[in-house]
């Protein structure tokens, strides 16, 4: 139970030990623990962010899907409308074509008839002149009897 020179030895030993512990244990361990704490917090934040991202992505996927469905429906509707339109157009064109052909044919026919009538008239007048000259035995001057002939032709 005395204070001796050991006191100084002990003070030196303890001081050295404190400095040693500070340098080689306390600071590395505390830094590591703080580092780990920070990394765990970071990881938790990242996972939370990931979950949030996933939620957003899912929402977006649903939206895209809905949009795609709408678009598909629209396209189908458009297609149907176009189909009806094409059918209608084709029908109209066919009717038009048919009418055109009919009109052309009718005109041709009429012309043919007129032409036949004309040729018939000429032939009738010639025939009439020929017939008359045969009956009368002399040349009938077509010019002098022109009015008669014309009357005849007009009657045909």
């Amino acid at each position: 139970m005395n204070i001796t020179a050991t006191l100084f030895g002990q003070v030196i030993v303890f001081t050295l030990l404190i400095l040693f512990i500070k340098r080689f244990l306390w600071e590395p361990v505390l830094n590591t623990m703080e580092d780990r704490k920070a990394r765990i917090a970071e990881g938790l934040a990242a996972s939370e962010k990931g979950a949030e991202d996933a939620r957003l992505a899912e929402e977006r996927a649903i939206e895209i899907l809905r949009e795609a469905k709408n678009q598909a429906a629209e396209i189908v509707a458009q297609g149907k409308a176009r189909e009806a339109q094409i059918v209608e157009e084709a029908k109209n064109k066919a009717i038009e074509e048919a009418n055109r052909i009919k009109v052309a044919t009718e005109a041709e026919l009429e012309q043919e008839v007129i032409r036949a009538k004309d040729s018939l008239r000429t032939q009738v007048s010639e025939l009439a002149v020929a017939g008359a000259s045969k009956i009368l035995g002399k040349e009938i001057d077509a010019k002098t009897h022109k009015s008669v002939l014309d009357e005849l032709v007009a009657k045909i």
Binding site: M1, N2, I3, T4, A5, T6, L7, F8, G9, Q10, V11, V13, F14, T15, L16, L17, I18, L19, F20, I21, K22, F24, L25, W26, E27, P28, V29, L30, T32, M33, D35, R36, R39
Partner: protein, 280 residues
């Protein structure tokens, strides 16, 4: 007494006195304070324990792995976290010396106290055996294993704390602030001489109570182990075993408790010292 290692009921006083004597250089101390003497056993045990702590600390600090803490790293991380929590609770804006100081005090005091659990005759017997082999007189060979049963050890720690108390006082208050604390505390400016005496007593009481508390507890524990060891003769053997066990179990509570108290009071004192000037 022919054999110092056998508890001799015939001469209990000599047995106990022998066990309470340090192996020393420069003879045995003659006054309460005798700087001509050096207790080699206390110093040696302290150095061995400090080296052990330093070695383990160095190995753990070198191989520290944040992702895969194993074995001793877990133990030390737990202690570091525990001490750091205490420091944070008591001394919120502590600088980076307080933590290492606290943990070193806690660990080294704990280990030095733990030497008390080693049977009281084991280490002295070993040392005496070795010394006898070198031809020394066993009666002249002393070995007191527990460093904290020695005032030098406890006051060495208390002195370090005391020096730091003064350092932090001056750091936080300035030299004039520290002087003002002596002059005007606790009774204001009209009782300066009383203030100086009161503050000096208050400041000196801190290291003295720190040193004496630890010393008293461990010395008393050691003394009781020695008294129990005296029961080591024929019919008293069961009593020795039972009492020794009970006292060991009780002492296992005292050992970490005293280490913890020393650490806690160190933090408290330094926290108080770091407070700014307060008005009275």
């Amino acid at each position: 007494m022919s054999d110092t290692n056998a508890p001799a009921i015939s001469n209990p006083v000599e047995y106990i006195q022998h066990h309470l004597t340090n192996a020393s250089l420069g003879g045995h101390p003659e006054a309460l304070v005798d700087f001509g003497v050096f207790f080699i056993d206390t110093f040696l045990v302290t150095v061995v324990l400090a080296s052990l702590v330093a070695f383990v600390a160095w190995r753990v600090g070198k191989n520290i792995d944040a992702d895969n803490p194993t074995g001793i790293q877990n133990v030390l991380e737990t202690i570091v976290e525990f001490v750091n929590q205490q420091v944070k609770d008591i001394f919120p804006n502590a600088d980076r010396l307080i933590g290492p100081l606290a943990i070193t005090i806690f660990v080294i005091v704990f280990l030095m106290n733990l030497m008390d659990i080693i049977p009281v005759d084991l280490l002295p017997a070993l040392v005496t055996g070795v010394a006898k082999a070198f031809g020394a007189n066993p009666h002249e060979v002393y070995f007191k294993a527990v460093p904290t049963t020695n005032l030098d050890t406890t006051f060495a720690l208390a002195l370090i704390v005391f020096a730091l108390i003064i350092f932090y006082n001056i750091k936080s208050k300035g030299i004039t602030g520290y002087a003002k604390m002596f002059l005007f505390h606790p009774f204001g400016k009209f009782a300066i001489p009383v203030n100086i005496i009161m503050t000096a007593i208050e400041e000196l009481a801190k290291p003295i109570s720190l040193g004496l508390r630890l010393f008293g507890n461990m010395f008393a524990g050691e003394l009781l182990f020695l008294l129990i060891a005296l029961l080591g003769f024929a019919w008293a053997m069961p009593g020795q075993v039972v009492l020794g066990m009970l006292w060991s179990i009780f002492h296992l509570l005292v050992i970490p408790l005293q280490a913890f108290i020393f650490m806690l009071l160190t933090i408290v004192y330094l926290s108080l010292a770091s407070q700014g000037v307060d008005e009275h």
